[in-house]
Amino acid sequence: MADHDVLVVGAGLAGMRAAIAAHRAGANVAMMSKVHPVRSHSNAAQGGINAAMRGAEDSIDSHVYDTVKGSDYLGDQDAIEFMCAEAPQEIINLEHMGVIFNRDEEGRLGTRAFGGASYARTFFVADITGQAILHVMYEQILKAGVRSYEEWFVTDLIVEDGECRGVVAIEMLTGKLHQVTAKAVVLASGGVGRAFEPSTNALICTGDGIALAYRAGATLLDMEMVQYHPTTLAGNGILLSEAARGEGAYLLNSKGERFMDGYAPNMRELASRDVVSRAEATEIEEGRGVDGCVFLDVRHLGAEAIRTKLKYIYEAALDYAGIDMITEPVPIRPGQHYIMGGVKTDPQTRTWDPDGAWKGPRGLFAAGEVACVSVHGGNRLGANSLLETVVFGKVAGEMASAHAKEQPDTPVSGAHLADAEARIQALFGRPDNGERTAKLRLDMGNAMNEHLAVFRNEEGMRSALGTVHGLQERYEELPVVHKGGVYNTDLIFHLELGYMLECAETICEGGLLRKESRGAHYRRDMTERDDTAWLKHTTANVGEDGRPVMGSLPVTVTKWEPQKRVY
């Protein structure tokens, strides 16, 4: 008998929302994560969550349009329409769960402005929105009594007869390997920001789910679409929320000019992130930066607003850069932040297509940053990521429960566990050739950040791909130096590096395949968007030789025909 009806891999917002939905649907559901749920990276979403439900002029259609435009027309419009239509109810659901959203004067939910949005439709909790929602979601998990495998690291998805039937995982506190079976598996394990150096992402964002699904035969979509956030702190590269610009912050160059006037005369600082990041990179390149940075200036907002509405980033600038934002502008630069691409799913979060247009194991669902539905296309709007996690997390939990109900109780072979054990023993048995995981990861991160950042070209992407291939070869000999069982992070980082290298390879291949500039994928050697040839998604499937086989899928357009994108 399967251990669970539904197993959710990842316990951030998408994962916990899926688990709650599955629990409510009556399924025996469990979550598994390599960290405790409240350590998940959803914490880091600061600014807010979008829904069109305030103001006489705002509408679902406007939210859809802004998202489609933000995506540079690469988002699938049916999925975007679904997400935006579900948004208001999900905000209410979160509020009912206990999220302490900011209120207006009448005691109703209040909003703030955000990038790329026509109206102020971002609901928020100061600048700790992600944390405030994540912790409340975990409260609901405790209330429901959902089983949670905490600090379990997944090494394999079990696929038999084309059907996903569970996972093999390392229990980190003991080092033991286990096979946990389920009739449906939901991937909600986040993105792969750590393939870049630096990145705003937590150290845990290593693309585990993306690589696991890819190895298990799923299709990756638009992997080349990597978001650089416009405001990451000089030095350690941590995120300073878009909430600052939402509240009215300026971006200044070394001459003290609000340079966004020249790039996005209407939206200025609140243009979409790809546009703002490119503008900053241009300023810096053309000599109007200081030490590789431009400045974020909030002084005119006043000490009170800075201390309350931007509390976290105020403290972060003080702690990590020694800068008091009340009296000084803070140096910032674009930094890797989010990956729009991921495991291809339909709007029902299935990773397989019943009609066979793309491939993936049945019974495997995905939601959140690990997935590509696609609602973000070429560029994600701020505060749409939290929305994606809860909307599609809920769908995934419900769909997976329904799928599990239809499955017979098929016994699962013990061979998967034995294979994984043998593989890990082989890693322990590798001779120490002096190579270190951290060094390989850094080489990968630097190459990706150099060649797949805000500006790209053929030569650079080829060079990065070459670096990744070279690292993959070295990875085959890379030793695990520490042989212990209990909390062996040397082993975990080794396995994570394998995941990241696979993701990095598909990111480079996707970038090379897409012969145009669109959204975050801006090629200096092909600066125009090409709707005739490239209004389509790139796909990657693992080939027999282990290298990606690239392809494409059409973009779903409902009523918003591509237009020139001006902010």
Partner: protein
């Protein structure tokens, strides 16, 4: 700059596991945090070193540990702040929790205490169709306790927990405050009744350690004191702790200073003869050594006691 780290190591898989200090001397940039330095050790010197960390930005709560004897978030603690001249920095796992390996502790106790306060909203009636109407002020008031990242630093250094593992502890009580003070919660009264029991709000010794070590400004003890007020107002004065507070105020209002004998009598109850008798030897010893003011009826008013009394009266009328 040079970082000189002394790290407490413990490996449960050794033949005879025992904790030991290990030194690492590494060259690091000026801006490095304790966490940056530990990561560098793990990456370049010693991959067997176990610690938890993730966000590097004081939001995930993974990397709480003791730095020079006090709980800190390693990612929020700059080396230059704790060792400006390159002094040795002692790094140990959190206290009050079982060590699993090196700097990794078992947070099971921590989470059990959180679970014990029923940490989820319990609305009064059926949910409204739209959002609950609540003032922005009431929500803003919850941002501070909601800012808790569950890192465990306060639990690590709580002096009351050290001697009484039944105490709910600062993190769980701050979380309890978050629900008691939430206008949408319908179970505040029941929550306060539970918090009034053994292990609840009255077991805090007001030592301020949790306020000092909390890396995100939750100030758990302040929340505990607010809960004490709520307990006295909503549940009543039913515990030695609450009677202690009342007696304290009564004595100061009346005589301008503390009648410690009455404090004991009021707190334990006038007719709690066994308890009072058991305290008598202690009382006599401090009296003999001149550390106790004369008890009632010899307890005299201090000069200016009337002024103090008036302050109390004014505050009482303001409260009403």
């Amino acid at each position: 700059m040079q970082a000189n780290l002394r790290v407490r190591r413990y490996d449960p898989e050794e033949a005879e596991p025992s904790a030991r200090m290990q030194e690492y001397h590494i060259e690091v940039p000026e801006h490095f945090t304790v966490l940056d330095a530990l990561i560098q050790v793990r990456e370049e010197e010693d991959p067997s070193l176990a610690l938890r960390c993730s966000c590097r930005a004081s939001i995930c709560g993974s990397c709480a540990m003791r730095v020079n004897g006090q709980a800190h978030l390693a990612c929020k603690t700059r080396l230059s702040a704790v060792a400006p001249e390159g002094e040795p920095v002692t790094i140990e796992p959190m206290g009050n929790q079982r060590v699993v390996k090196d700097l990794v502790v078992d947070l099971g106790v921590f989470w059990n205490k959180i679970r014990a306060i029923e940490p989820y909203l319990q609305p009064a009636g059926p949910e409204p169709e739209e959002e609950y109407i609540a003032s922005d002020e009431s929500m803003q008031n919850l941002i501070t306790p909601m800012g808790c990242i569950m890192c465990g630093a306060c639990v690590s250094d709580c002096t009351a927990l050290e001697v009484d593992e039944n105490f709910l502890g600062p993190a769980a009580l701050a979380k309890a405050y978050r629900f008691v003070a939430d206008p949408r919660d319908g179970a505040s009264h029941e929550r306060l009744q539970t918090l009034n029991e053994y292990g609840g709000v009255w077991d805090c010794t007001r030592c301020y350690m949790c306020v000092e070590v909390c890396p995100v400004g939750v100030a758990p003890m302040d929340r505990i004191m607010e809960l004490r007020d709520s307990v006295m107002n909503e549940v009543g004065v039913t515990t030695p702790g609450a009677r202690h507070v009342e007696s304290f105020a009564r004595s100061v209002a009346r005589s301008g200073w503390l009648d410690e004998t009455m404090l004991a009598v009021d707190s334990w109850g006038r007719f709690n003869i066994p308890k009072l008798l058991s305290q008598a030897p202690l009382g006599l010893r401090v009296l003999v050594r001149g550390k106790l003011p004369l008890p009632w009826p010899f307890h005299h008013k201090r000069a200016g006691a009337e002024f103090v009394g008036r302050i109390f009266k004014r505050w009482e009328s303001k409260k009403q």
